[in-house]
């Protein structure tokens, strides 16, 4: 086999193994941390008075909560490996159904925020590089400082007070545009900061001088030579950006009263609904692991320098 191909495959294989190990780690960790929570859903419903003692025993038996941790773990592992997410201990509905009702709205918020973030976060530094004496440089600086210093949480609450309670422009519960904008600006600032620094660095590189000597104009140099090189940094961080979008979306949902994974997770934690909490943490974690793996792979396909084992 071609040695270069072998090296690429070997490197991707190692990544795959690492991702699998992390995925397994997430599954085991989540299960045992959640089991350490004192009191289970049956206790809580007992305190609330909705179950008699014999009903409690019956429910424990039905949910398998009377078995040892290790036994519960194996049963549960077999279950999720066969693709069954289990049922919510509180609502007696399949978790897959619960997730199916909330994931679209979280996904919509995340996608909207990510799109705003990518457009502004890549567009502004590119324009700033194309027109170095223009307003765009100041804009890049502004969103950079904004995202470093203004937490989405506090600006979110302020927006609710000002726009919903005082001005009445948006509904206090269930507004979608404002949280998407807040999150989007946050991502844009993070991206713009890195891209701007990278593009400034690359401008002084030898191959840019060569390009200029060949007679290329500024737009060609920026768009064909500087931007693609600077974008590799962004690609490398997509996994982390995704994780921060998800975290941000969860908080924004609670602040703006949107239905979604964040609201569901909070309810589930407060209601001691372990299976739901587990499912949410595990699936979000796996999403990040998969995203990281895919970015690693794409980078290695694109950039031969990263193929070292």
């Amino acid at each position: 086999m071609n040695p270069r191909l072998a090296r690429l495959l070997g490197s991707i294989g190692l990544d795959l193994l690492r991702s699998l190990a992390i995925a397994a780690g997430i599954v085991v960790f989540t299960f045992f941390v959640i089991r350490m929570i004192p009191g289970d859903v049956v206790d809580l419903r007992g305190i609330e008075g909705s179950l008699t003692y014999s009903q409690q025993t019956a429910m424990r038996e039905e949910l398998g909560l009377n078995k040892g941790w290790l036994e519960q773990f194996w049963l549960w592992l077999g279950m999720i490996l066969s693709g069954d997410l289990g049922t919510s201990a509180r609502y007696s509905t399949p978790i897959a159904d619960l997730l199916a009702t909330v994931i679209p709205s979280t996904l919509a918020l995340g996608t909207a925020a990510l799109s705003i973030g990518l457009v502004l976060g890549i567009g502004l530094p590119t324009l700033a590089c194309l027109y170095p004496r223009s307003i765009f440089v100041a804009l890049v600086e502004f969103i950079t400082i904004w995202s470093i210093t203004i937490p989405t949480f506090s600006i979110g609450i302020l927006c609710v007070i000002v726009f919903a309670v005082w001005l009445g422009w948006i509904p206090a519960i269930g507004n979608f545009t404002v949280p998407a904008l807040i999150l989007g600006l946050d991502i844009a600032g993070t991206l713009a900061k890195m891209l701007h620094e990278d593009m400034t660095d690359i401008q002084t590189a030898d191959f840019i001088r060569t390009a200029r000597a060949k007679g290329l104009n500024r737009a060609q140099i920026v768009l064909r030579h500087i931007l693609p090189n600077a974008l590799t940094t962004v690609v490398a961080l997509i996994g982390l950006i995704l994780a921060s979008v998800l975290t941000g979306a969860l908080t924004m949902e609670v602040v703006f009263g949107l239905p979604g994974l964040g609201t569901l997770a909070l309810q589930a934690i407060k209601g001691r609904d372990y299976p739901v909490v587990q499912a949410i943490i595990i699936w979000l974690g796996l999403a990040v692991v998969v995203a990281n793996f895919i970015t690693d792979m794409v980078q290695k396909l694109v950039d031969p320098r990263l193929r070292n084992l």
Partner: protein, 285 residues
Amino acid sequence: MPAVSTSRAGGLSLPRWSRLTYIAVFIVAIALFVSVAGPLLVTHDPYMFGASMNEPPNAEHILGTDDQGQDVYSRLVTGTGLSLLYGASAALVALFLGGLVALLAMALGKVAEGILFGLVDLIRAMPGILFALAFIVAFEPGVESVILALGISFAPNFALITRATYLQQMARPYTSAAKVLGASRIRTAFVHILPNVAGALITQFAIVLPRCIVSESVLSFLGLGVSPETPTWGRMIASATPYTEDAPHAVIAPIIALSLVTFSLAIIGNELRTRFDPSRRRIAL
């Protein structure tokens, strides 16, 4: 970065501080003063319910009262100290867990490094707030759980910086010199490399500190932070949010305090990073 106007030509001339940085330092200084002198500045017992509820600011209660009839100003003053204390404790836990443990793991060799950074990847793969939520619920909500949970979820920032700096330093002649003189890897790491990692770690501390303060308020806002009567900013925001229409001052006061202080700390952290941390771009998030 914008906060600094760098002069790269002269090696010795440091970039000047911008006006924004001066303002930030001033605000942080005030916050520190308020935290220390808090008991002298309060006008009421911050824990006492008594007065009528949701009163707007007036002569008796300069920032009004909250939904429990507690004095917002006194709670804000007490909360400044508590929020800074809890935030700083969480950041310190992260610094020790991430920095020192990573240094030890690097010194111990490939196996320890592999295990520790596997854990780091694990923590980074889980959305931070959810991780902290699960952790806090598992170990009973309370100040200690919050600090520990935040400490663990921010530890990877320090661990990654430590590894990067360690590898850089190991390539330099003085570490080989230490080895030739018979120093063990652990001694080399803690006696010779640690002083060189310290700068990067302190810079990272300044970056993580405001995030810890915000995260504490987010957790309290979600009802899983400190106990309800503790007046940290997040807790105050959480208990006043349902009454935004009647008593907006009770939400806005802690929000402004939180925003001002985290803004200033972030500006200072960013300033430090621009000056002292060459590896800044890799760990930007």
